[in-house]
Amino acid sequence: MSVPLTLLGLLEREPSHGYDLKRDYDAFFGRGKPLPFGQVYSTLSRLARDGKVVISDVAPGSGPDRKRYIITDVGATEVEQWLTQPVDPEPHLQTVLFAKVVLALMLDRPAAEYLDTQRSAHLRRMRELTEIKRAGSLVDALLADHGLYHLEADLRWIEMTGARLDALRKEVRP
C-alpha cells in the first residue's frame, strides 16, 4: 500500500485536514493497522515539499491539524498515472510453501502431511475471511475476497503438488 499516493488520491476528492485524511485512510485502507498521525503529517510535508499538495489555509488555533491540504496539478497527474498503470503481477515463484515441500522431499520427511496441515490452515483462514465477508460491509467483503482468491490459488497449487509428490520426490532425490 503506497501511503503517499493513497493520501494524494483522498485529497483529489476534496481538500482535507490531516485528521480527516487519517480517519478516511484508517476506515478504508487501514484494516486494523491505523496510520500513525506522525506518518500522516510527515507524508503531507514531503508532498508539500515536492509540490504535490499546497496548504490552503491555517485556521486559528494550535497544532498541525489546522492545516488544510489541496492537491496540485502535479499531484493529480501522479494519482492519474498511478491509477492507470497496472500493478506488476508477482509470480511468487519462491514461496515458503514451495521451499517447505522441496526440503521435506529432500529430507525424506512426510511432505503430504505438511500439505494436509497447510491446506487445513488455509481453509481455516478462508473461513475467518468468509465470516468477515458475511458480517461486514461491501468494502470489507471486497478486501476479504482479495484474500480469499489468493488463498484459493495457493490451495490449487497445494492440490496439484500433492498429486505430483511421487514424481517430485524422484526429481529432488535422484
Binding site: 494436509d116 496441515t117 491446506r119 487445513s120 488455509h122 481453509l123 481455516r124 478462508m126 473461513r127 475471511l129 468468509t130 458475511r134 480469499l148 482468491y149 488463498l151 484459493e152 490451495l155 492440490e159 498429486a163
Partner: protein, 226 residues
C-alpha cells in the same frame, strides 16, 4: 454437541470399482460440514451412503443412533422424506410444477394438505429474495433463482440434515456465494445440520469444518489436530 449422523468404516463399490474403502466421519447436530476431495475421490458416494440413498457393502451408517444401513428400502425412503433435505448441483426442479409447488413438494409428499403446504412454501420466497416468482416454472427462472428455489425445497420441511451436493457447481462465483450465504443463514436459523459436498475451497469456507475424501477414505485434519 452430540453426533447426529455418522459413517463408520464404510465400504462401497460400483461393480469392481471401489468408491469407499473404510470411510468414517461423524457430524454434530447443527454443524455445517464440508466434504472435499478431488473428482472420483468418493465424496458424493459418501454423501449418498449417509443419506440412505446407497447402502454400504460393509460398515455402518447411524442417524440419531439408529442403523440406517440396516433399514428396509421403505424405512430409508421415509427417513429421506421426513428427516432429510436435499439440494443438488442442477436444482432438479420438476418442470411441470410452478416454483411454489416445487418448494411445497416435500410437504405434499409427507401428507401435508395443499392448503397448509403452499402458504408455508410461499413464505420462503421472501426469505430467499424470490418475491414474485412463485408462479414461474423452472424454465422461466435464472440459474441462481432456480437454485434458491431448490434450497427452499430442501429446507421447507425443516429437515434435521440437509445434504447439499455441489449446490453451487452450476452457478457463477457471485451467485454461488449468494446461494451459500442464504443456505448457511437458513440452516443456522433452523438448527439444521448440513453436509456439503464441494471441490471449491471458497464454498467449503462457509462450513464450520472440512474433511477431505481421498481414495475412498476420510481425512479430518481439524479433528486430528484437536
Amino acid at each position: 454437541m452430540s453426533v447426529v449422523i455418522e459413517a463408520r468404516d464404510v465400504t462401497f463399490a460400483f461393480g469392481q470399482t471401489a468408491a469407499l474403502r473404510g470411510a468414517s466421519v461423524a457430524v454434530d447436530a447443527g454443524e455445517i460440514l464440508a466434504v472435499m476431495g478431488p473428482s472420483g475421490s468418493g465424496k458424493s458416494t459418501l454423501l449418498h451412503c449417509l443419506a440412505g440413498i446407497l447402502v454400504p457393502d460393509s460398515g455402518e451408517i447411524l442417524f440419531d443412533g439408529v442403523r440406517v444401513d440396516a433399514m428396509t428400502e421403505t424405512q430409508r425412503s421415509s427417513l429421506r422424506r421426513d428427516r432429510f433435505g436435499f439440494v443438488f448441483q442442477f436444482g432438479q426442479l420438476v418442470p411441470e410444477l410452478t416454483a411454489v409447488e416445487n418448494v411445497a413438494l416435500p410437504l405434499l409428499l409427507s401428507g401435508v394438505h395443499r392448503k397448509q403446504a403452499l402458504p408455508k412454501a410461499s413464505a420462503w420466497f421472501a426469505r430467499l429474495g424470490l418475491d414474485g416468482l412463485e408462479q414461474r416454472r423452472s424454465g422461466e427462472l435464472s440459474g441462481g433463482q432456480a437454485q434458491r428455489v431448490a434450497l427452499a425445497r430442501g429446507l421447507v420441511a425443516e429437515p434435521q440434515v440437509l445434504f447439499a451436493d455441489e449446490p453451487t457447481g452450476a452457478l457463477d462465483s457471485l451467485t454461488g456465494e449468494q446461494v451459500m450465504d442464504l443456505l448457511v443463514s437458513a440452516a443456522r436459523e433452523q438448527g439444521t445440520t448440513v453436509i456439503l459436498v464441494t471441490h471449491e475451497p471458497r464454498i467449503a469456507a462457509y462450513a464450520d469444518r472440512e474433511v477431505m475424501v481421498r481414495d475412498g477414505r476420510v481425512n479430518a485434519p481439524d479433528r486430528i489436530a484437536s
